[in-house]
């Protein structure tokens, strides 16, 4: 008995229990493993284009070709309005930000299943993996964003239809919001798919569907004019507010609205915290069901 008392006088460094407190998010653990976080980012970045000749140039090629394709299909063939803007610029603006979201979402949404072999062997805060995805996608986004800026400046000089404005100050905030939205949704999906894989089938085409429910290839104003009865779908989508604000900042068109943006912000915050709680709950024992 005396020994027992002695033992508990000195504090334990770590107590493993069947369940974490839902609010303990393990931030201190994440800080301890921050080197791992950056090494994962580096690994993702370096390993993608190993043994390719063009290397990181693929980062540029991808959005350019997509923008051209959209310009031909949606702009020329389908004749969807780009609000009087050069189609390439209009599509690149939406695609660049959208890609950041969709890449983050699709890669974080299989965190548990894709990393099961590492997770089964060694412990580190599981959150490191989705966080590293957000960061490495941020780098990729940064590169593509740079490309967009170059194109944007070109049109800014040659074209008079573009009216950038002070909303530009919001851009970093919009980018962060988009990242957290993808992350939040991704970790919820990965947590729900460890035991029942059904949801996984939904992710790939769900992302595609979501793109058409966001004002990427068409302006929100077009929906307001032609199909006001369907506008609620776009407004319910938190991405709409972010994309419209982004387009408005750079191009001066679109329906920028503080109400829409506040909704996107609140939605993201709630989604992210729900995601954290679910993820936190699942990471403890997912190895038994994955």
């Amino acid at each position: 008995m005396i020994k027992e008392i002695e033992d508990d006088n000195e504090p334990w460094d770590l107590v493993l229990e069947p369940r974490n407190k839902w609010y303990s998010l393990g931030l201190s653990q994440i800080l301890r493993f921050k080197d791992l976080l950056f090494l994962f980012v580096r690994r993702d970045f370096v390993s993608i284009y190993k043994q390719t000749i063009l290397g990181p140039i693929w980062f540029f090629i991808q959005p350019i070709i997509t923008a051209f394709t959209y310009a031909i299909i949606f702009g020329t063939l389908a004749g969807i309005s780009t609000e009087g803007l050069p189609p390439i610029l209009f599509y690149m603006c939406g695609i660049t930000l959208w890609n950041y979201f969709s890449d983050t979402l699709s890669k974080t949404s299989d965190t548990f299943t894709a990393n099961a072999s590492i997770f089964g062997k060694v412990y580190f805060p599981r959150m490191i993996v989705p966080l590293s995805v957000v960061l490495s996608n941020l780098i990729k986004f940064g590169v593509q964003f740079l490309l967009f800026i170059v194109v944007w400046i070109y049109y800014l000089i040659t074209d008079t239809t573009i009216h950038p404005n002070l909303t530009l100050l919001l851009v970093p905030f919009l980018i962060i919001l988009m990242g957290f939205l993808g992350l939040g949704l991704g970790i919820i999906i990965t947590s729900l798919t460890t035991k029942y894989r059904d949801l996984k089938f939904l992710v790939t085409f769900g992302i595609q569907l979501l793109m058409y429910a966001s004002p990427i290839v068409f302006p929100l104003s077009m929906v307001s004019e032609k199909y006001p009865q369907y506008k609620f779908i776009l407004l319910a989508n938190p991405i709409t507010g972010i994309i419209e604000a982004f387009k408005y900042a750079f191009l001066g068109v679109g329906e920028f609205n503080w109400l829409y943006l506040s909704y996107s912000f609140l939605f993201t915050v709630v989604l992210f915290f729900v995601g954290l709680i679910v993820f936190n709950k699942v990471e403890k024992s997912f190895m038994d069901t994955v």
Binding site: E10, L16, K121
Partner: protein
């Protein structure tokens, strides 16, 4: 008194058997419904003990049940048990890979696990990059790895390839690099699982030396292996797990002895050679149907030192075969082969399907030393081209016990017992 650095309190782990499918969702809903009303989880009340050979009635099984133990600073604890006794589950809980169903584990200091070397190696990255990545996965910080980098590289012995992607490495080189990183991990508590089964002899020796050093530095080590020789040379204390329960918790020698004894125990209790579980898997033309030890007086597996030892083997010929060769080996409790010279041609000529063969091997008295031996029986064709059947302690063969006849203090030591004779010359 050294302080306790790890303490497990009532640790239990439940697993669900069978596949996850639509049936599980009803259990999940039921569980959730109980929880919502503030009641206990209904499925925690049930569950069989963990005995893989007996078919249980429940879909749930307790892989570990009420495990309690303490580890003091500087202890080197060996965890032993048969396959499926719960060793790996315990390690997984301790290393935080999964969590216990109920119970708590308290830990002082950093804990790191070495369940498999080279975890997280990325094939496209170079050896250098992978050292940093792997080190970080195991919980080292970048400056820590950088300061030990040269040591790690020279320990691994792959200097030449350090800037080559690891996908070009041989599997042996990969393992060397992985172990080198892990060996330079310096947590207060280190968990090691069977990593020694890899690499060539020279490298294995290096690894064992390193593990011994780690233990010598006063760090705490938890070690799991089936290699009893390694166990007994490294560990001081031991835990023997059996069907998810702690069967023995004392010094390592006692645990190893009891571990080897487990095989004879399960034989008496449950299956005979004839009904053994893996029988369907043996495709041999001739199979053992029974093996029985006997002395002049009775059927037994315990013999006095001065008794003649006999084994009667009965075999069924299941398909025509080319003669019959018998081979037998004796293995000591630390898994070293002691005797391998018994090889006899039982039948030279072809055997017909349906025949029954019975023969007896006799070992003269005073030839085996005092102690326990594991037995290994095999039968094959006359030309030794293939084996038909093998029976050893994995299929519930009892251990052979040789007991002393007098109080000779030397009877427990030594390796050989050979016939000798004394001639007095004057």
């Amino acid at each position: 008194m050294s302080k306790v650095v790890l303490k497990a309190i009532n640790v239990s782990k439940q697993y669900r058997l069978g596949q996850l499918g639509t049936g599980t969702i009803s259990h999940d809903l039921n569980r959730w419904w109980h929880k919502a009303r503030g009641k206990d989880d209904p499925y925690l009340q049930i569950g069989d003990t963990n005995d893989r050979s007996a078919k249980g009635g429940s879909d749930y099984v307790w892989s570990l049940k009420d495990i309690n133990f303490e580890v003091k600073q500087g202890d080197v604890l060996g965890i032993i048990g048969k396959n499926g006794a719960g060793k790996s589950t315990l390690l997984k809980i301790l290393s935080q890979v999964t969590s216990a169903t109920t119970g708590k584990v308290k830990i002082r200091g950093r804990i790191a696990a070495l369940l498999e070397v080279g975890t997280g190696f990325h094939p496209e990255l170079t050896g250098r990059e992978n050292i940093f990545l792997n080190g970080a996965i195991l919980g080292m910080t970048k400056p820590e790895i950088a300061s030990k980098f040269d040591e790690i590289v020279s320990f691994s012995g792959v200097e030449k390839y350090i800037d080559t992607p690891v996908k070009r490495y041989s599997s042996g080189m990969m393992v060397r690099l992985g172990f080198a990183v892990a060996a330079h991990l310096e947590p207060e508590i280190l968990i090691i699982d069977e990593v020694l089964a890899v690499g060539d002899a020279e490298f294995q020796k290096k690894c064992m030396g390193k593990i011994k050093n780690v233990a010598g530095e006063g760090r705490t080590v938890l070690f799991v292996s089936h290699n009893m020789q390694a166990m007994s040379s490294i560990c001081k204390t031991g835990i023997l797990l059996k069907n998810g329960l702690i069967d023995e918790q004392s010094d390592i020698t006692t645990c190893i002895k009891k571990y080897n004894g487990l095989f004879s125990e399960s034989f008496i209790g449950t299956t005979s050679i004839k009904d053994r579980l893996n029988r369907a898997q043996s495709s041999g033309n001739v199979l053992f149907s029974n093996i029985q030890g006997f002395s002049k007086e009775k059927k037994t597996w315990d013999f006095r030192f001065d008794e003649e030892i006999n084994f009667q083997c009965d075999c069924d010929v299941r398909d025509n075969s080319d003669g019959l060769l018998f081979y037998m080996a004796l293995i000591d409790p630390l898994s070293n082969e002691v005797l391998t010279n018994i090889k006899l041609l039982v039948k030279e000529n072809a055997l017909n399907k349906g025949e029954k063969i019975s023969f007896t091997i006799t070992i003269p008295p005073k030839t085996l030393r005092i102690g326990q031996f594991l037995l290994y029986f095999a039968i094959g064709d006359a030309k030794q081209t293939r084996w038909y059947d093998v029976v050893d302690n994995n299929v519930n063969l009892p251990t052979l016990n040789i007991t002393p006849v007098d109080m000779d203090p030397h009877s427990n030591s030594g390796k050989f017992s050979i016939p000798y004779k004394l001639t007095i010359n004057n």
